[in-house]
Amino acid sequence: MWTTFLTTIKVNLREKSNLLWLFIFPILMASLFWGMFSGLTNRQIQAQNFAVVHDSNWSTVAGADSLVNALAGKNTNGTKLIRPTTVSSVSAAKKRVQAGHDSGYLFVNDVGSFGIAISDDLYNEFTNNMSSSTASITVSSLRSIITQFNHSQTTLKTLAASHPTASTQGQTQTRQQAQLQIQAQLERYIAASTASAKLSYTRNRSLTNFAPDQFARYYYALLGMVSMMSMSFAITSISTAQANLSAVGARRSIAPLPKWRQFSAILLASWLTSFLSLVVSFCYIRFVCNIAVGGREPLAILALLIASFTATAFGLLIGAIPRLSRGAKTGISTAIACFGALFAGLYGSFAMSLSDSISRNIPTFDLFNPVKQVSNLFYDLLYYDSLQPFMTTVGILLITGAICMTLAISLMRRRSYANL
């Protein structure tokens, strides 16, 4: 039995298609995700050289200098969006831009609103590569801040004009005094809220132990798919142990090693190799792609053990089906993995929305999707403080595995056949 166990592991690990699909493919997929998602999560704002036009219009805007200082990161330790150079006129600013010294310029127009002009190069970068350029993010931020500044300024001016006492808590004052109050109000506002170019009125509060990661679900779905693909280990192994499935199986069946011992060795070896392939994928996802599991790595390993058990049980069941070629069985296992991965959300935001919709509206469907259940194992670990959801998912997978195992044993318990 020991030799059968070792030989099964050896055969599983030497089969080229197993190596490709269960060890290399998951790493390639995870790398692909990493390349796609890390670009979105790790993108940093890059400060741009900007000219600031200090002409006659400039002084009409209350808080203009404070805004520029904030954008340059001078007032606070916030994010630096621009490296400003003061010029006296728009034409001077344009010359600097044309000479390539600056990427654009900030100015105040005739009606007292802030404006932003950018170079052709920056414009092209912004329009052609909007989602991936760091410079385009800087431009977007500048536009957003200036739009918001103009809006605030307009609101306060309107307020001062219509309710001169609004900003002085009921004290009577002249229009000039009111404008000074507005300017002071704006400067305080800018100093307080543009510290990091984040003009936000909300505050982040985490409701879970671990910071949510919107992209982690894709990696979890990938682990779910890989776990179901790893059932091919069991399919391959059981095909070579049944007299009605292969010539090698017939040869093994006439040997004096009892069937239950061969079956036990195959089960353990297939489970181990399946687990091994998942551990490799998990380690890559966890430590190279840096996808967290809520600081619960030991439980994640337990999850891999459960997932590989269920996959092996599935594999034994499919592998034991008589009168189907090994290729057809491998095809069935791939179909289960790929189809299940669709409803687990692996194939993009549409699939993820579909998966969420199914979970909300027909949760029973998820019970029959082992890929979804395996991805849930890790989701449960990351998002829930309690272990109860995790244990529920473990229970579902164990019951599924037990049912498959029972059916597989009933198919394999025959010792002689009507046909070979």
């Binding site: 059968t4 017939a250 002689s416």
Partner: protein, 333 residues
């Protein structure tokens, strides 16, 4: 036609039942096996004595492989008995299985394992302890002459070497009974000769061998007794000579001559032992029935008619003639 030329089955005078003798390695009695509605084995009987090489011949689909799989308890059967070394053979007869080796028709090895690993694995199904296996594996590798290929994987072996690996996996545990199911299919003459010599060597070491093949000459060369089966039942059994005696065919005489006249040809065709005589202007071909003086009588007629002739040859009937006469010349699947 069904002939039992050399039976070793005792029949109980009171009950009429056949009983196995002490020296039967395989005893199959009245085995019936259907595949759906198709009758695969029709009251099939087989008795293989210990220490002999028994040849099982039959056209494709005659039931040879089915019979072997029933003997090995891989296939279920509707009625009849199968005993090996005097004990009933069942799927859980592990003590009996330990004594049996099987070389299947298709090469049955793991492509992911080397030659040595394959042989060791199949040996481990019979002999669990690693240290007990090493010498056996070495012996098996040497027996089939695969020493220099022991670290090769099957994909790198030629057809002949693969067949030899297939044999090594079946005999590595030194079985007392070995079933060879067409082991020389698609093998070159050198490899075939080596395989046949190896099988005889196994017999000399005490093994009993059941050998199936389509190649009449190799069966004739190595088998002590031969059974021809068709349509799932035995149609003839005996030694090669006994089988040849069963058919109504004697020697084939060929005479090279240019001046045979019609009268002489007619005289020959009228002879009672001549089944057929044909002359094509260069060669006279005569198919004879059994007889002790066939050639002498033909020569007498040639001399009497003054016919000049050159080369003359006489060929006794072959096993192939027996096979074709007993199983017919119609093509099989």
């Amino acid at each position: 036609m069904s002939t039992q030329a050399n039976t070793h089955v005792n029949t109980d005078e009171n009950t009429g039942e056949k009983t196995r003798t002490a020296h039967d390695a395989i005893f199959v009695d009245n085995l019936v096996k259907h595949y759906g509605t198709m009758l695969a084995l029709d009251h099939f009987n087989l008795h293989v004595h210990q220490g002999e090489i028994f040849g099982l011949l039959g056209p494709n689909g005659s039931g040879k492989t089915t019979a072997i799989n029933c003997i090995l308890a891989l296939l279920s059967h509707e009625s009849g008995t199968v005993s090996v070394f005097g004990r009933p053979m069942t799927p859980t007869s592990y003590d009996l299985k330990r004594k049996i080796g099987m070389v299947p028709q298709n090469v049955a090895v793991f492509n992911e394992l080397t030659v040595r690993e394959n042989i060791d694995f199949f040996c481990s199904l019979y002999i669990p302890k690693n240290r007990d296996r090493k010498a056996l594996v070495d012996d098996a590798i040497a027996f089939v002459g695969l020493e220099e290929f022991s670290h090769y994987r099957p994909a790198k072996l030629s057809g002949g070497l693969l067949r030899r690996l297939n044999i090594a996996c079946g005999i590595v545990h030194k079985p007392e009974l070995i079933l060879f199911d067409e082991p020389t299919v698609a093998v070159d003459p050198q490899s075939r000769n080596a395989i046949l010599e190896g099988i005889q060597h196994l017999r000399d070491e005490g093994a009993t061998i059941l050998y199936t093949s389509h190649y009449m000459e190799e069966v004739e060369q190595i088998c002590t007794r031969i059974m021809i089966m068709d349509h799932g039942r035995q149609i003839a059994q005996g030694t090669a000579n006994q089988l040849k005696d069963m058919i109504d065919m004697g020697e084939r005489i060929t005479v090279d001559t240019l001046d045979l006249d019609a009268q002489t040809l007619h005289t020959m065709q009228a002879l009672p032992f001549v089944a057929q005589a044909d002359f094509n202007g260069k060669e006279l071909k005569i198919a004879c029935r059994h007889g002790n003086r066939n050639l002498a009588d033909i020569l007498d007629i040639l001399h009497a008619s003054g016919t000049n002739f050159g080369h003359l040859s006489s060929q006794p009937p072959t096993l192939n003639d027996v096979f074709l006469e007993l199983t017919g010349k119609a093509l099989r699947d």
